[in-house]
């Protein structure tokens, strides 16, 4: 079960600076921890996040083991046209999740 919480304003005026907030469900296991019997808990993290606005990449981030579980990533962009934001998270063990949100620009 992986779920994402996306917050993009439903409407904006052309040229407005808007805030985009994303929260992704993930344990972000660092790979530096041990079990009670001394075995290493294998690393399991999200390694990359990207956001496309009507097909054009507007934001990208690389994630590392020091980032807490359930990464919250927020950033700003300029509302240029109505359309779709697409989000993609990629990580260890074949982790791959997508989400999208629409915006109307007047």
């Amino acid at each position: 079960m992986a779920s994402a919480l996306i917050n993009v304003p439903a409407k904006a005026k052309r040229g407005d600076i808007i805030e985009i907030k994303t929260l992704m469900s993930h344990i972000m296991e660092t790979g530096y921890r041990h079990t009670a019997t001394g075995e290493v808990v294998p690393r399991d993290i999200i390694t990359s996040f990207a956001c496309r606005y009507n097909g054009t990449e507007i934001f990208r981030a690389d994630l590392f083991p020091a980032i807490a579980a359930n990464p919250f990533i927020t950033f700003f962009t300029t509302a240029t046209a109505s359309g779709k934001f697409e989000f993609e998270w990629i990580g260890d063990n074949g982790f791959s999740e997508t989400a999208s949100a629409s915006i109307t620009v007047e």
């Binding site: 919480l5 917050n7 929260l23 344990i27 579980a69």
Partner: protein, 257 residues
């Protein structure tokens, strides 16, 4: 004479214990002890990671399970209506068992009896998700453990455990949460211990967790042997804490440091 002295002494202690309880007007949720940044996390559902479990719980609510191939929704329909205010009344008496059960146990009883499915393990993502989803429907509702007279002896037992000194540090819950809640333990605020937001997301856990997890952690902290998950003692303690927080609004899923 010695006996009389003992009686006087124990009477003094009884008065002392009673006077240590927090007056109604001074009760505060753990929320009010938090830093502004942590409060902001709880205030905005698009930042609150606890909502990830609520989303999962919403999916599980509709998922068919067990021999009878029924989903929670098949009996309880829309949780927004059917589960409104429910979590504020837990732990509650289970008629068949004749003792109080908490929300997690109620969900598992529903699974085993009505869905004929295997109970979900304590602190599993699925059980926390369902609990969070159900509890969220009571957000803002006043905590109101039932007035069922059957509950009274269990509340009393929970209170006894709350007052009982235990562990290598020889501390009772009351020594911190009634007597020293206005102080700090190292850098952390000692709160009044009102369970207003469970299941809640603790930044320290990096996960959602139940009230039983919190109670067990406190017991380990005073170097006592923690009760197992689902132990009647833990449920009685939960029940006493809820009766102690009577009237305070439920915040689930809350954030705590």
């Amino acid at each position: 004479m010695r006996l009389a002295g003992l009686i006087v002494l124990s009477a003094l202690f009884a008065v002392d214990a009673a006077s240590a309880e927090i007056p109604q007007a001074e009760r505060r949720s753990g929320y009010s002890f938090m830093a502004p940044d942590t409060r902001a996390m709880q205030d905005d559902d698009t930042i609150n990671p606890g909502m990830l479990w609520v989303l999962d719980g919403e999916k599980l609510w509709a998922r068919k399970s067990g021999v009878t191939n029924k989903a929670c929704a098949d009996c309880h329909q829309d949780a927004r209506a059917s589960m409104k205010g429910v979590a504020a009344h837990y732990p509650a008496i289970d008629k068949a068992l004749g003792r109080p059960v908490d929300l997690e146990q109620r969900i598992n009883l529903c699974r085993t009896t009505h869905q004929q499915a295997t109970p979900l393990p304590y602190e599993s993502r699925e059980l926390l998700a369902l609990t969070a989803f159900v509890a969220q429907q009571s957000r803002g509702a006043a905590i109101e453990p039932g007035n069922d007279p059957q509950l009274a002896p269990f509340v009393a037992k929970g209170r006894e455990l709350f007052m009982q000194r235990q562990g290598q540090l020889n501390l009772g819950c009351t020594n911190c949460h009634d007597e020293n809640w206005d102080k700090r333990l190292a850098g952390s605020a000692i709160t009044q211990g009102h369970p207003t937001g469970y299941p809640l997301y603790r930044l320290e856990w990096q996960s959602l967790g139940s009230l039983q997890r919190r109670l067990r952690a406190c017991m380990t902290g005073i170097r006592a042997q923690a009760y197992d998950y689902g132990a009647p003692e833990l449920v009685e303690l939960e029940l006493y804490l809820m009766s102690r927080a009577r009237g305070m609004p439920l915040e689930a899923p809350a954030i705590r440091p």
